[in-house]
């Protein structure tokens, strides 16, 4: 395997070709290569491209540079206040050592169904910005994941930024990761909900789900039960049921498919109630 350290984005793009992989934190890629799960002919190290490491507010959006680390998310007041589900997912993400290295874009590029940052980013309508020698393009995160560990990113393309809509004062949100231990654990189910509120009515509802299908996805059918409504018991129960229906989980070493589907409904209900400030039906 060839190793190349890029000094600029242009250099990185020029070095990209079939079988090449960009390496940032390397927390997924390095073990994948080491244990033979992935074969790459060339590793292009982009970890020194500081111009891709930032978190900023611009034009009413939050821009997260591709190389911002998970620790950067935790350190950012902007993320804590205007993207709190993302902040909470970063708190549950692996452990401090991994968080220091792992990049936001890397978590998405790994395209694990259980990628911790995907549900909260989906829930804030994330747009992924890409660049290649051909030029730039932008892709909604909801169209980014194609299939199990497969993304819409072309081999020579580099993720440069993730752009999300900040939460407003009226907006409601919640995040939960069901896991089998308190740190360094892969999600059994991940749920992020964002409810954009306008005078008590839910103008927009977005529910991001992780680990209950081949890819992280938006639970559109569940969202439809909430959008345009004053949210109460009925809407929440319908949305939770629809979310559970939408799940297509698998059996694996962590949990069975049926447990995951059931938890998908339970957790969507809980997160919606939490977002709306309603008491839980069971003590949590």
């Amino acid at each position: 395997m060839e190793f190349l350290r890029a000094a600029s984005v242009d250099e990185a793009l020029a070095a990209a070709r079939d079988g090449a992989a960009f390496v940032a934190g390397g927390t997924n890629l390095v073990p994948d290569v080491l244990f033979g799960r992935k074969k790459i002919s060339r590793a292009v190290d982009i970890s020194r491209l500081d111009e891709l490491r930032y978190i900023e507010e611009a034009d009413g959006k939050i821009r997260i540079g591709a190389l911002a680390t998970v620790t950067d998310l935790l350190d950012s007041d902007l993320i804590r206040t205007a993207a709190s589900p993302l902040h909470e997912s970063a708190l549950e993400f692996a452990g401090p050592l991994v968080r220091n290295r792992a990049s936001v874009a890397g978590n998405l590029m790994d395209a694990s169904p259980a990628a911790d940052l995907a549900p909260p980013l989906l829930a804030q309508d994330a747009i992924v910005e890409l660049v290649s020698v051909e030029g730039e393009r932008a892709l909604p995160l909801s169209e980014f994941f194609l299939d199990y560990r497969k993304t819409a990113v072309r081999p020579e393309e580099l993720v440069t930024a993730i752009v999300i809509d900040p939460l407003g004062a009226e907006d409601r949100c919640a995040y939960y990761k069901l896991q089998l231990r308190r740190a360094m654990a892969i999600a059994v189910v991940g749920v992020a909900v964002v409810l954009r509120m306008n005078r008590g009515v839910c103008a927009e509802a977005v529910i991001g789900l992780g680990a209950v299908a081949a890819i992280p996805y938006r639970a559109h059918a569940a969202e439809a039960h909430l959008r345009g409504k004053e949210i109460g018991e009925v809407e929440i129960e319908s949305a939770a049921a629809a979310a559970a229906d939408s799940a297509q989980p698998i059996d694996d070493v962590r949990a069975s498919a049926s447990y995951r589907r059931k938890m998908c409904g339970v957790l969507v209900r809980r997160m919606l109630r939490k977002a709306m400030g309603m008491p839980q039906t069971v003590a949590v």
């Binding site: 452990g95 308190r182 740190a183 360094m184 962590r254 949990a255 957790l267 069971v282």
Partner: protein, 760 residues
């Protein structure tokens, strides 16, 4: 008796060395010119080897030697059954079974050589389920073993049928435990160096440097035990798993064939799929009771999963079958055990040696009984506990016992009565107790030189007044070397910081059986105590001559020999030794008490027994099944605490390790393939998961123990699984966890099952 060192808190004696990174672990060991050894392992749970061609691997430049059945003798070995070979012969029997091994100049070459070995397999049906394995038409793991039964027994004692007839109430339960690994942080590895005189030096993190020569290396390699010099490297964790370490055999065989030093380091994945994890077991229990909560008798049926090869499994099954009967006054028992071969990783011993499994089942059952009889679970136990002076149904002699004190402590500290009065709404408390051996005579027959379960020690004082202790007993991370230093320091009046206890080495140290069965503090500690007393006597005799004061009028205080009547007349210990022109030594040997059990498994297997009670308070999320352990409260009877800091570490480590086993660990076999092959699929508890642990010691001052001490390592882990399960039962109003681990999914199923039962 007042003590100067014993019972006080000290850091372990090699703490600074360890935390500063100076410790040399096996992976740090450098042997000039060493080759890299690596094994080719079976990818199939069960297959016949039709053809094995190593020619291309042998021809690869940089490859020194390739070993397989093609060029090694058929020398089966095994502690109970000689059912294992260095390299698979006609068949492979589990995923991970050693088919061949190479020694090459580096890791890359070794890996390439493995890829060049061609094996033609005829895949055979997998024997995965221990019950299906007993069916008449089941495929056989070992062609000569009918019914796949590795071992079985049936014992009846004390009028069991009458006990059940006369009982006011009987209860029945079934429990199942899972396959879990020791999950030490240091993967297994060994190094070996062949010498031109035909002898071989071996290094590794090994629990018994002496015994591995006699039960594995010697017989398989056709050499005598004395041909091997085995040196322990500092342990990076063992927990029972580094007793029968095949990596030592691989390294030694490769080194002899290559006539060069070889390092054979297993990857974490290899370790997880090919070491000897804790035995899974299926336990059926029936018990008979008087209305007032007096135990009248019990029936136990066990099906234990042996895996592909037997090793110590028959003894583990025996421990599972009999152990808990000795914790309570049990008038009658019927015990049946079946150990079944399967095409899964051979199971083995881990901290508890079957007692974790047995205690989980019996102590869970006891809470069901308490519920059925309308009694408080703590009261039910207190009514039936064994006591000092008892001889149990199986012949165990209880020399000291403070289990009732331990339980009362837990009840008091946890505010038990008030918390038991609540429950059923997602929050609850539970407790469980255990008994454990301090050494086990059975091993001495199966593994040792004779039936004495011996240990010996040498204590050497040098001209600087520093003391080295040589013991044949290994430190496997539990702090054994510190315990020995504190005992000798107490005896000799020399400060602890002048003691050094080098890792065990068969080349110059006296014999010891090794670290298992919680035997080191009692047996090794007594040997070292006797050696220290001898050294002290020799020191005083020498000083008497130099100081012209009779030895019995001298004492040693803080490293000075001084006249009792005239403390300013003194010499330092170093000066005394210096004037002798040599070192001053003391020798000690101690033979364990107890008996070798008879054919009916009757007898007193250990000198004495340790006890503990663990209590847990949990919160259960009734919708997701997620269990949070809020606090753990324990009482332990280790006879006497030698080093309080070390003892606290044992307890806290045991509780967290046991909780981890109970709640999240598991190799998760599926049709003979393990799914927990790395540390993100095989979870172990982190510091984030560890609950606050409150605990205290109840010192029963054992008559046989050094300063009254017994073993502590295993009583620290045994009861916590049942304590958590009993707390979940209380918290949920009846969700009984019958199959481990206590995963959220399993808990939710149990909650639903309990709900259905309550409404039906």
């Amino acid at each position: 008796m007042s003590t100067r060192v014993v019972g006080r808190p000290h850091p372990i004696i090699d703490a600074v060395e360890k935390v500063s990174g100076a410790t040399v672990f096996i992976n740090d060991l450098e042997l000039p010119g060493a080759l890299t050894g690596m094994a080719l392992r079976s990818p199939h749970p069960h297959a016949r080897i039709l053809n094995l061609d190593t020619m291309d691997a042998e021809r690869l430049p940089g490859v020194a030697v390739v070993l397989s059945k093609n060029n090694t003798p058929d020398a089966p070995f095994g502690i109970n059954h000689k059912d294992e070979a260095a390299f698979c012969r006609e068949k492979v029997r589990y995923v991970g079974d050693e088919v061949a091994a190479v020694a090459a100049v580096d890791e890359e070459t070794a890996r390439e050589a493995l890829s060049l070995i061609r094996v033609e397999y005829e895949v055979l049906p997998t024997v995965a389920d221990p019950f299906a394995a007993q069916e008449p038409d089941a495929p056989l793991v070992h062609d000569s073993v009918a019914g796949n039964i590795a071992n079985e027994f049936h014992i009846k004692r004390g009028g069991i049928d009458e006990a059940f007839h006369a009982a006011d109430a009987t209860f029945a339960d079934e429990f199942h435990t899972h396959l879990a690994h020791q999950a030490y942080i240091e993967p297994t590895g060994c190094a070996a160096q062949w010498h031109p005189d035909g002898k071989i030096s071996v290094w590794g993190c090994l629990q018994s440097v002496f015994l591995i020569r006699t039960f594995m290396l010697g017989p398989v390699m056709g050499m005598s035990a004395d041909d091997f010099r085995v040196t322990q490297t500092k342990p990076g964790g063992a927990f029972g798993g580094k007793l029968d370490v095949k990596a030592a055999l691989m390294a030694a065989m490769l080194s002899r064939a290559a006539e060069k030093p070889v390092k054979f380091m297993m990857s974490l994945e290899e370790d997880l799929i090919a070491m000897r994890p804790r035995m899974p077991v299926h336990i059926s229990l029936e018990s008979a009771w008087k209305r007032d909560g007096t135990l009248a008798g019990k029936r136990v049926r066990i099906v234990a999963e042996n895996g592909a090869y037997s090793s110590l499994s028959p003894a583990i099954m025996s421990s599972i079958a009999l152990r808990t009967d000795n914790l309570y006054k049990t008038p009658a028992a019927e015990i049946q055990g079946k150990l079944v071969y399967t095409n899964i990783i051979p199971s083995g011993q881990m901290r508890g040696f079957g007692n974790v499994q047995a205690t989980y089942a019996w102590e869970s059952h006891l809470d069901n009984v308490a519920d059925g009889l309308g009694l408080d679970p703590a009261d039910l136990r207190l009514k039936n506990y064994t006591e000092k002076g008892d001889v149990s149904l199986h012949g165990w002699k209880i020399a000291s016992c403070a289990v009732a004190d331990a339980t009362r402590h837990v009840v008091r500290e946890m505010d038990w009565k008030a918390k038991r009065a609540r429950g059923g709404e997602g929050r609850g408390v539970g407790l469980a107790s255990c008994i454990h051996v301090s050494g086990n005579k059975g091993f001495s027959v199966e593994l040792g030189p004779d039936d004495t379960d011996p240990s010996s020690g040498v204590v050497r004082v040098d001209e600087e007044g520093k003391v080295e202790i040589w013991s044949g007993e290994s430190d496997l991370g539990q702090g054994a070397t510190s315990v020995m230093a504190y005992i000798a320091s107490e005896v000799m009046g020399i400060p602890v910081d002048r003691f050094k206890v080098p890792p065990t080495d068969t080349g110059y140290m006296p014999f010891g059986m090794g670290a298992f069965a919680s035997r080191i503090t009692l047996i090794g500690g007594n040997a070292v105590k006797i050696a220290a007393e001898d050294a002290r006597r020799n020191l005083l005799d020498a000083a008497a001559e130099f100081m012209e004061i009779p030895a019995d009028e001298l004492e040693i205080v803080e490293g000075d020999v001084r006249a009792k009547a005239l403390p300013e007349r003194k010499m330092t210990v170093g000066e005394v030794v210096s004037r002798t022109g040599s070192v001053i030594e003391g020798n000690g040997k101690w033979l364990a008490g107890g008996d070798v059990l008879d054919k009916e498994k009757y007898g007193n297997p250990s000198t004495t027994y340790s006890f503990s009670t663990h209590g847990a308070e949990v919160e259960v999320d009734m919708e997701t099944g997620v269990v949070t352990v809020l606090q753990v409260c324990c009482g332990h009877d280790p006879g006497r605490v030698i080093n309080r800091l070390g003892a606290e570490g044992q307890v806290e480590g045991g509780v967290v390790q046991g909780m981890s086993f109970a709640m999240m660990e598991g190799l998760a076999p599926l049709e003979g393939h393990l799914r927990g092959r790395n540390f993100h699929d095989y979870l172990i508890a982190t510091s984030m998961d560890a609950p606050p642990i409150e605990h205290d010691f109840f010192e029963s001052m054992d008559p046989y123990g050094p300063y009254g001490a017994k073993g502590l390592a295993e009583v620290a882990i045994n009861p916590i699984t049942a304590a958590i399960c009993n707390a979940v039962y209380h918290a949920t109003g009846g969700a009984r966890i019958r199959t481990l681990p206590v995963s959220p999914e399993r808990v939710l199923e149990a909650i639903e099952e309990a709900r259905n039962q309550n409404t039906s």
